[in-house]
């Protein structure tokens, strides 16, 4: 390249950075996916291998039908190529933790091979310590320092295998032997081994190794599943198998020798036993005879004692009689005494009463005396008072008579006054008459009287006389009043005095009476005093008599007490005598009992003797038989056999291997689709670029540049973009994708603690090469095509693609109804057919990837939904113990009927069998229900597609879909069903039923009887619960496990949960798919849109210039995109469902059938996401559209 060209090249990249980067990223995505997912498979294997190598995992293990010896170990160790050998003891045990019974695989700790990874604590160092499986922590709680106690789960004691039963947990870890959660199965407990327990080798009591592990040097560094490894392992296997024959012979010889020795020993033992038995029997017989003698002695003694006892009893009877007499006497005495006591008490009462009377009387007397004295004194006082009164009365009477004399004198004076007065008045009246006559005379004389001095003097003297008379009159009246008052007062005083005199007379009468009374009383009192002294004398006498009575009584009591004591003594003696007799009787009874026991013992002894004799004989006979058997067995002893197995026989590695295969299968499909799209898109982009640069190419050509020289710019452009993209995709993809996938698988393979993701050049180089071929090839082709033309032709504008009528226009009615915009859109779409195809394919691929992603989840969740939700209508299964008795089974039935949580139960016979047809053998579960009528309540049998139900009848068996596919049988065909070693029986398939988990064969009881000629004895109960409540479920399980007949209970919800857990890990894969689909859609759409816009820049500028708003302009382009997205989505639905079906078939596990259909909602999700991606791209495009320069439209066509 010339300098100008170089510059042109860089400017070109800078100017079209979008395009350059989009090619780069498309290629990067394609390469990342192609190489990343493809690399996942080998990376998975490498990682598993790394786990194995780091733990020094065995390459070969040898198992023998008769165990392996130290000699075997040495012999294997000597084989060339073997670097390490180690023997392992192992056995399964049961361990009860809480409510759970766990099956544990106990193995001896190895020193070199199969190194454990200790997660917590340390490795066991001494006897009694153990390391437990980390997975056990998932099942129940364990902590360092816990003790676990093992039991064998069979009739054999633990000590047959292990030296001790109890171990202390000192470590928790993982073993390289188990990559995943599966720990295999066992014949004890519920058969499901929950985890391993590692104990020191010396704790095992086994004589021979259970298996021998061997490692070979030459195999390190090879991937386990690889061809090199397999060849190496096969060579080793052959080498070991070569010595197997010899070792087996040695082993057989050893066993024979041991057995012969044992037989000899047995014979000696038997002889010893016989001798011993005989001696023992003889001894026993002698002892029994001695016993009989002793017994007869005893009997005699008892008779003697009985006689003695009868005598004693008679004596006692006499004593009792005497005692009875004494008791009567005593009672009499007591009665007398009590009478005396009563009398005395009466007398005492009398005396006391008398004394009280005396006291009372005396008091009365004294009181009367006092009262009398007082009365007398009163009387004296009264008399004195009366005498005084009489004296003062007579004095008053004298005074009063004086006063009466005075009064009479007054009255007399008054009368005299009045007489004087009357005389003066008569004088006056005369004088007046004289005067009146003078007056008349004077008047008649006609002299004025007044003037007459006589008359006036007379008048004046009259007047004075009159006045004097009035005054005297007044004075007399006053004296009269005074006298009248005095008269009255005197009268009153007289009356009062008379009253007083009457009163006094009364008082004196009373006094006289009182005096008489008093004198009477005093006489009475005197009489009382003499009576009193008589009474006192009587009382004193009574008291004396009382004292004498009391003394007499006391003497009587003393006498009585003495006789009572006597009586008590007699009684005690008697009681003692009686006790003695009772004791004697008891002793006698005991002696009799002892005698009876002795007799019984003796007879038992005889019986035992007979039994022992019989037993001994039998045992001896058995021993002889055993010996004979052993001898026979020894004769029949077969050659032991060795099984030499490599890592391919380790289940978790085999499973991991098939998982890796499955990822490999996905890796073959997905990336191809992805890569195809990427390659096509980058191809279109480059072709388009060259076409765009026509004029430039023409100019260059005209300037004389050679074709290659011109093409080199574009080729470099494509080359650098593709190379850079490849490297980027390789670097990121090969690390990230395997990492995501392996990490996802770690959910299942918990022990996969190493992730190896080396760069794998092969895939990357292939991918890069194809990318380069696509882009560079396309560029070259386009350049060649361009340079083929003449420069002049090139420089002329390219004839624009001709518009033409499209076929739709011929459908007139439809076309007419389309609006203008859609018409132009449709024409545009069909004009750019290449773009249409690319876009539809890109969007379709995106949609398909999304559908596969979502569909994968759907298909897997169908298992849980349909199997556990629709097909299996029951909630739990109880497995019945193989050797459960009828009574125990009946008890279980009863318990199920009465249990509240169980609404219905169905008994069935179940068995694991082998189904064989067309050369394929599959393990199947046979279910023979007891009750055909209720069977559909528990199991729904139907066609998967038509949902048509099937019922079980006697015409044939119903088998599950996947089994039918494996065996390649159809309805009406027959296949062979065999139970372990029994010869297969041919059965006819009546229907094929929908089923997702395990392989099932359902048969009616009649058919089973007919086929196998035996009764299908129920060994499982299918249960429906009333309340599907987690807590209640667990309670029910615990209740059921307590039943003797139940050996295990499986909950459908637990199974469902485990499926859900397991499948949850696939979510990551789905996310990877969704994200990659999004990226794909984005890159493809962006790129194609970019091309579209660039191609039509002029047209768009013109439209813009015509006055289209931004949105209208965008819609002009978007309409096409919307249509394309729609078509792409429809195409994607078809692509997706085909791809989904393919992927599901590839990833399916043996025992599980995934759903075949994608849920409609997933299509919606897919379409929605695809549309969303399309919208995102179009939104991004909007800004690009807005930047289109209108001036562009004015430019000349390039």
């Amino acid at each position: 390249m010339k300098k100008a060209q170089r510059k042109d090249f860089f400017v070109e990249i800078k100017r079209s950075l979008n395009r350059y980067l989009s090619i780069l990223f498309i290629v990067a995505l394609g390469v990342a996916f192609f190489s990343g997912i493809r690399a996942a498979e080998p990376d998975m294997r490498l990682s598993a291998d790394a786990v194995a190598d780091e733990a020094n995992f065995m390459d070969i293990r040898v198992i023998s039908t008769m165990g392996l010896t130290e000699g075997d170990l040495e012999a294997i160790g000597k084989i060339e190529g073997i670097t390490a050998v180690e023997g392992e003891y192992s056995s399964d045990f049961l361990c009860v933790r809480g409510e759970k019974e766990l099956v544990l695989h106990v193995a001896s700790l190895s020193s070199e091979l199969n190194q454990l990874t200790v997660k917590e604590g340390r490795l066991p160092e001494k006897s009694g310590e153990c390391l437990i499986d980390e997975q056990l922590l998932q099942v129940t709680e364990f902590a360092l320092g816990d003790e676990i106690t093992l039991n064998s789960g069979t009739k054999d004691p633990v000590s047959d295998t292990l030296k001790r039963e109890t171990y202390t947990v000192v470590g928790i870890g993982t073993s390289p032997y188990y990559l995943n959660l599966d720990r295999g199965s066992s014949q004890i407990g519920n058969g499901d081994v929950k985890g391993f327990v590692m104990v020191p080798k010396e704790d095992f009591a086994l004589e021979v190794y259970t298996q021998i592990y061997a490692a070979a040097d030459g195999l390190d560094g090879f991937v386990t599943a690889g061809k090199d490894y397999k060849e190496g392992a096969e060579a080793l296997t052959e080498a070991i198998e070569a010595i197997a024959g010899e070792r087996c012979e040695i082993r057989l010889a050893e066993i024979k020798k041991d057995a012969e020795e044992e037989i000899a020993e047995g014979e000696a033992e038997l002889a010893d036993a016989r001798k011993e038995a005989e001696t023992e029997l003889a001894d026993a017989r002698a002892e029994l005879l001695d016993g009989e003698e002793e017994l007869s002695d005893g009997r005699k003694e008892i008779e003697d004692n009985e006689k003695k006892l009868a005598d004693a009893k008679a004596e006692i009877a006499d004593g009792e009689k005497a005692l009875e007499d004494g008791r009567i006497k005593l009672a009499d005495g007591e009665r007398e005494l009590s009478d005396g006591r009563e009398e005395l008490a009466a007398n005492e009462r009398k005396v006391t009463e008398a004394r009280a009377l005396l006291e009372e009387k005396r008091a009365e007397f004294e009181q009367a005396q006092t009262a009398l004295a007082e009365a007398r004194a009163q009387y004296e006082a009264g008399k004195a008072e009366a005498d005084a009164g009489r004296q003062s009365l007579s004095e008053a009477r004298t005074e009063l008579s004086g006063k009466a004399e005075q009064l009479n004198e007054g009255f007399a004076a008054l009368e005299a006054g009045r007489k004087d007065l009357e005389s003066s008045r008569e004088t006056l009246e005369v004088k007046e008459k004289e005067l009146a006559a003078l007056r008349e005379m004077l008047l008649a004389a006609g002299i004025d009287p007044e003037t007459n001095p006589d008359y006036t003097a007379g008048m004046k003297a009259l007047e004075a006389g009159k006045k004097e008379l009035a005054a005297a009159e007044e004075l007399l009246a006053g004296k009269e009043t005074e006298l009248l008052a005095g008269q009255e007062e005197w009268n009153r005083a007289d009356e009062l005095l008379a009253e007083k005199e009457r009163e006094l007379a009364a008082a004196e009468a009373t006094l006289a009476q009182t005096d008489a009374l008093l004198t009477e009383k005093e006489a009475e009192l005197e009489a009382g005093r003499s009576g009193l002294s008589q009474l006192a004398a009587g009382v004193a006498e009574g008291e004396k008599a009382l004292e004498a009575g009391r003394r007499e009584l006391a003497a009587g009591e003393t006498r009585l007490e003495a006789s009572r004591q006597e009586l008590l003594d007699g009684e005690r003696e008697l009681a003692e005598g009686r006790q003695e007799i009772a004791d004697g009787e008891e002793a006698l009874a005991e002696a009799k009992e002892t005698l009876a026991d002795g007799e019984k013992e003796l007879s038992d002894g005889w019986e035992a003797y007979e039994e022992a004799k019989a037993e001994a004989d039998e045992k001896l006979a058995d021993g002889e038989q055993e010996l004979a058997d052993a001898r026979a067995e020894l004769e029949d002893l077969e050659m032991p056999e060795w099984y030499v197995l490599d890592r391919d026989s380790v289940q978790s590695y085999v499973e991991f291997d098939s998982d890796a295969d499955r990822i490999g299968a996905i890796g073959k499909v997905f990336p191809v689709v992805f890569f195809l799209v990427a390659a096509l898109v980058s191809l279109t982009t480059m072709t388009r670029m060259v076409e765009e640069k026509r004029t430039e190419i023409g100019t260059m050509k005209a300037l004389g540049y050679s074709t290659m020289s011109i093409a080199s710019k574009y080729i470099f452009y494509a080359l650098t973009a593709t190379l850079a993209g490849s490297v980027l995709g390789f670097l990121v993809g090969e690390k990230a994708l395997p990492w995501v996938i392996i990490t996802t698988y770690k959910i299942l393979y918990t022990n996969l603690n190493v992730i190896r993701i080396p760069y794998n050049w092969g895939y990357a180089l292939g991918a890069a090469a194809i990318s380069l071929m696509c882009t560079v090839g396309a560029t070259l082709a386009a350049c060649l095509k361009a340079t083929m033309s003449q420069p002049s032709e090139l420089m002329r504008p390219v004839a624009p693609l001709k518009g033409k009528k499209i076929f739709l226009e011929r459908v007139r009615p439809l076309w007419r109804h389309l609006n203008f915009s859609w018409k132009s859109t449709l024409r545009n779409l069909l004009r750019y057919k290449k773009r249409l195809l690319m876009t539809v394919f890109g969007i379709g691929a995106c949609m398909a990837l999304l559908i596969v992603g979502f569909g994968l989840r759907d298909s897997i969740y169908v298992v849980s939904d349909k199997q556990y939700g629709e097909l299996w209508r029951y909630d739990a299964t109880a497995t019945i113990e193989k050797d459960a008795g009828e009574a125990e089974k009946a008890e279980l039935k009863e318990a199920l009927l009465s249990d509240e949580a169980v609404s219905e139960s169905l008994a069935a016979y179940t068995a694991v069998m082998d189904a064989e047809a067309n050369g394929v053998t599959k393990e199947v579960n046979l279910v023979v229900p007891e009750d055909l009528e209720r069977f559909p309540d528990f199991f729904v049998l139907r066609d998967r597609k038509t949902k048509k139900g099937y019922s079980l009848d006697d015409s044939g068996v119903i088998i599950s879909e996947k089994l039918a596919k494996y065996l390649d049988v159809e309805e009406g065909d027959t296949f062979t069903l065999k139970e372990s070693d029994v010869k297969g029986i041919s059965v006819r398939v009546s229907h094929i039923t929908e089923n997702y988990v395990y392989n099932y064969v359902y048969a009616s009881a009649n058919l089973y009887r007919e086929l196998y000629g035996k009764e299908p004895e129920s060994n499982a109960e299918y249960l429906k619960l009333t309340e599907v409540h987690k807590d209640r479920e667990q309670e029910l399980v615990a209740r059921l496990l307590k039943q003797d007949a139940v050996s295990g209970v499986t909950l459908v919800s637990d199974m469902n949960q485990s499926i859900l857990d397991m499948l949850g890990s696939l979510d990551a894969v789905v996310w990877v798919l969704i994200i990659s689909a999004g990226l794909l859609a984005f890159v493809v759409l962006y790129n194609l849109n970019n091309i579209n816009i660039t191609e039509r820049r002029r047209e768009l500028a013109t439209i813009r210039l015509l006055g289209f708003y931004d949105m209208e302009l965008a819609m002009y382009v978007y309409r096409e995109n919307i249509l394309l997205t729609g078509i792409g989505i429809v195409a994607g639905v078809f692509m997706g469902s085909i791809l989904h079906r393919f992927v599901i078939r590839t990833v399916e596990v043996d025992l599980i059938m995934f759903g075949r259909t994608v849920h409609p909602v997933s299509y919606l999700y897919g379409a929605g996401l695809t549309a969303l991606f399309a919208v995102l791209v179009n939104v991004t495009m909007f800004y690009k559209l807005r930047r289109i320069d209108m001036v562009e439209s004015l430019k000349s066509v390039e």
Binding site: G803, N828, L1105, V1191
Partner: protein
């Protein structure tokens, strides 16, 4: 009579980093309604910039652009688009027809976004394409394509018909026919037509000739008696 189109002190300055290019520097001219105007000038004189500014494709850095009394220079993007879709008809040098649409559909493309438009069929008949309506551009000759282009512009019933070198890609005769169509349109419809060309031979047919040089109007003259197209030769 007030000017129908008037540019007052219009400047357009492009800045490209350090370099400042004055494409149009203080341009002033005015156009009367119904005039046939020819803007002529050598390449790089600023003709296209004037066209861009007048056509609402670009904004003047400074100055006023009055179209029918409204200052277009101050429009925002949206109003600018509205101005383009309703007031301006464009005729391009290279016709710029959408190849995928027929002649009729190309016209419809323009009028479907325009409120006050004319009938597409009628206008196509008027430009002489009555029988070619359903043909795709590739089936039409250059002159016919330019007629479609003119019909598309006229159908919008614009205030101003802007023609950018309408004859640039056509041969002499066809070019003349197109110019005649434009002149007739101007006369018969009273449409204001602005033709931008570097060909000064066209000036006699114009009512008004605006000569541009170095981003400025070097001269403006009004032809009292414009020559009919038939009389012009170049």
């Amino acid at each position: 009579m007030a000017a129908f189109v008037e540019l007052k002190g219009v400047k357009k300055i492009y800045r490209m980093g350090e370099v400042v290019i004055k494409a149009v520097d203080n341009m002033n001219f005015s156009i009367e309604k119904g005039e046939f105007v020819v803007i002529v000038g050598p390449s790089g004189a600023g003709k296209t910039t004037v066209l861009n500014i007048l056509g609402g494709m670009d904004k003047a850095t400074e100055g006023q652009v009055l179209v029918d009394g409204v200052d277009v220079a101050g429009f925002d993007n949206r109003r600018m688009t509205k101005y383009r879709r309703e007031d301006i008809g464009f005729v391009f040098q290279f016709y710029n027809l959408v190849q995928n649409l027929t002649a009729l559909e190309n016209v419809e493309l323009a009028i479907q976004i325009c409120r006050d438009h004319l009938d597409a069929r009628e206008i196509l008949a008027e430009v002489g394409l009555k029988d070619r309506m359903d043909n795709f551009p590739s089936q039409l000759s250059g002159g016919e394509q330019q007629r479609v282009s003119i019909a598309r512009a006229l159908a919008k019933n614009p205030k101003l018909l802007l023609c950018d070198e309408p004859t640039g890609a056509l041969d002499y005769q066809t070019g003349k026919a197109i110019l005649k169509l434009l002149q007739d349109t101007c006369r018969e419809r009273g449409m204001t037509v602005v033709v931008i060309t570097h060909n000064s031979a066209l000036t006699p047919m114009a009512d008004r000739v605006i000569k541009i040089k170095n981003g400025q109007v070097s001269s403006m003259s009004v032809n009292e008696n414009p020559t009919p197209v038939e009389g012009i030769e170049w």
